[in-house]
């Protein structure tokens, strides 16, 4: 009887949250586990006699120290950020004019090209990593982060072009036409009318290009081998496993700190992100 009443009160007060609680637990538990592992002493980490969910010995910074002093972690972080920023710039420079042309101009083959853009988004790195490894080697980029800067736009460009096309289409044609009456060229109309209006689209495309680049794994694994040239996910997942020994504490702290840049970008752009996600899949 009291149980029933308690349950009813729970449903009344927290109704919408009840079904969400198990989801949040499943989603967040691995991150909590990372966090606590990163700061537990080794003795504590390998002691499962009592509940492992909290510290039984005082927390330690030893794992973070090993990560920062015993590996090239900061170099990897720098590589990933540099690659990310450069890829965003290259992607936008190529995608903006292409998106504008595909959304606004009619020319021979424009339909085919926009279908082609959509299709190239579906051709996965898994299909291309072997020939691309030959290709970048042929171009002289053996074991270099520039190979990644060069190749990464191949998966960001189709997606971002597709996304930006949607944004260009939302701008009424009439505005451009009146600009043209006033004597603007295409380029001027694009620069002074389209670009300022689609700033949210540009931000969304930039965020996606950055996160997709930051997440990439197979190209980095294939094209790069020297530790100093690794990206963050590649470096953390390889250099802290020595032989059969997993440095769990350092692995977890590396994964957490490494995930921070994406998490921050994401936290500040949640709405853009969700919009892009649904638009990218639905348009």
């Amino acid at each position: 009887m009291t149980w029933q009443r308690a349950w009813r009160r729970l449903r009344r007060d927290y109704g919408p949250y009840l079904p969400l609680a198990p989801y949040l637990f499943v989603v967040l538990f691995p991150f909590y586990w990372m966090l606590i592992t990163a700061f537990k002493r080794d003795n504590d980490l390998y002691n499962l006699t009592t509940a492992p969910f909290w510290f039984k010995e005082p927390p330690t910074l030893a794992h973070v120290k090993l990560l920062l002093e015993g590996t090239l972690f900061l170099t990897w972080l720098q590589n990933s950020l540099l690659i990310g920023v450069l890829v965003v710039i290259i992607t936008l420079a190529l995608a903006l004019p292409a998106a504008y042309a595909l959304a606004r101009m009619r020319f021979l083959g424009s339909q085919t090209l926009s279908t082609g853009m959509f299709l190239s988004y579906l051709i996965p790195p898994t299909l291309l990593f072997l020939p691309l490894s030959q290709l970048v080697r042929g171009l002289g980029f053996t074991d270099s982060i520039w190979a990644l800067v060069l190749v990464y736009p191949s998966f960001t460009l189709p997606f971002c072009t597709w996304l930006l096309m949607g944004f260009v289409r939302t701008v009424p044609r009439e505005i451009e036409e009146s600009a043209q009456i006033d004597g603007c060229t295409r380029l001027q109309a694009f620069r002074m009318i389209i670009l300022p209006v689609i700033v949210p689209g540009i931000i969304t495309a930039g965020i996606f290009a950055f996160t997709l680049t930051y997440q990439e794994y197979i190209y980095a694994l294939t094209f790069v081998s020297a530790s100093a040239n690794k990206t963050i996910s590649y470096g953390v997942t390889t250099d802290l496993i020595r032989g059969d020994v997993f440095y769990w504490g350092s692995l977890m702290s590396g994964a957490l700190i490494g995930a921070l840049p994406v998490a921050v970008v994401y936290a500040f752009s949640l709405d853009h992100f969700i919009h892009g996600l649904t638009a990218g899949a639905l348009k």
Binding site: P16, Y46, L119, M252, L270
Partner: protein, 310 residues
């Protein structure tokens, strides 16, 4: 007054049409110029390597040796005779469709739970999407640790809860390893499924639901006869995307199991990497990756047909 307005109304479209023609005259050439950089880039980094993959699969290319020659279908013949390859094909399908089915089953209730207004909805939505945003290479480390053979926290919870009686070897036992990989892939991907479903659900006009309610349709019938037909197109496209990404996945499987134990979790990506890079046999590796293509082509055809019809 009325006359003047009339003149204006006629004159403006006339000017617009002339102007439009003025720009359109040069569109043929201009269009090419605007799209050329992106087009050339994609031709060089997607189309060309794709053709190259076909050529490599017909050759004896090896890592580190500059010379190779045409060997015809030899690589494919070797694949057909390779039991691990057939295991890989089977694994890829189990991995993809297993993950997708579970993602939908657990994504749908979540989408419904998110499809109402409550305080902190934005925060909850933001938190739910985190596994999808954080690089899978990094979060897979947490799973590898939670699936550890000696110190698995999942085993600890299941044993204390009395659900299992001995520690399971999540990544070491053939059948179980595939489940582990699927569990992580579901964890990473169900937020995406839920967001797509949520976008679809918000597109269902509330009036229609109300009308069905008044007509006496219960929740199940409302879902089946009202909601599903409306969200079907979005659901369908979202699902196809999701299938493509699972089918071509590399990092999730590679980081958890590297295809083991006994090749029971190898998918196209990991097996191709093993053969093409680790064993250095690029030709054979390329042949493996090309088996993804018929599958992709089938999905693309279905998708394009569907989009044309809509």
């Amino acid at each position: 007054m009325a006359n003047g307005q009339n003149v204006g109304a006629v004159a403006v479209p006339a000017t617009r049409a002339t102007v439009r023609r003025g720009w359109a005259d040069r569109e043929g050439l201009q269009g090419f110029i605007w799209i050329a950089p992106a087009f050339l880039y994609l031709a060089f980094f997607i189309a060309y390597p794709f053709v190259m993959a076909i050529y490599l699969s017909l050759s004896s290319a090896r890592v580190g040796s500059p010379e190779y020659h045409f060997v015809g279908l030899l690589n494919y013949q070797r694949l057909f005779a390779d039991p691990t390859f057939w295991q890989t094909v089977q694994n890829s399908f189990v991995f993809t469709f297993g993950s997708e089915a579970i993602r939908l089953i657990i994504g749908l209730p979540l989408a419904f739970a998110l499809n109402r207004t409550f305080k902190g909805k934005r925060l909850v939505q933001g938190l739910i999407l985190i596994p999808f945003v954080i690089p899978i290479a990094l979060s897979s480390l947490a799973w590898k640790w939670m699936f550890d053979s000696l110190y698995s926290v999942i085993n600890w919870m299941l044993m204390r809860g009395g659900i299992i009686s001995y520690p399971w070897q999540w990544l070491g036992e053939p059948g179980l390893a595939m489940w582990s990989v699927i569990i992580m892939n579901v964890w990473r991907g169900f937020p995406f499924s839920a967001v797509i479903l949520l976008a679809a659900l918000t597109a269902v006009p509330q009036e229609i639901i109300e009308a069905a309610k008044i007509d006496g349709a219960g929740p199940l019938r409302r879902f089946h006869y009202v909601v599903v037909p409306i969200i079907r197109p979005i659901l369908f496209v979202g699902l196809l995307y999701s299938i493509v990404f699972s089918f071509t996945d590399f990092s999730a499987v590679w980081l958890l199991t590297q295809g083991g134990p006994y090749n029971t979790t190898h998918v196209f990506g990991t097996y191709a990497y093993n053969i093409g890079i680790n064993a250095g046999d690029i030709g054979q590796g390329a042949a493996i990756t090309l088996f993804i293509f018929p599958f992709l082509a089938a999905i693309v055809i279905v998708m394009l047909r569907f989009l044309r019809r809509e």
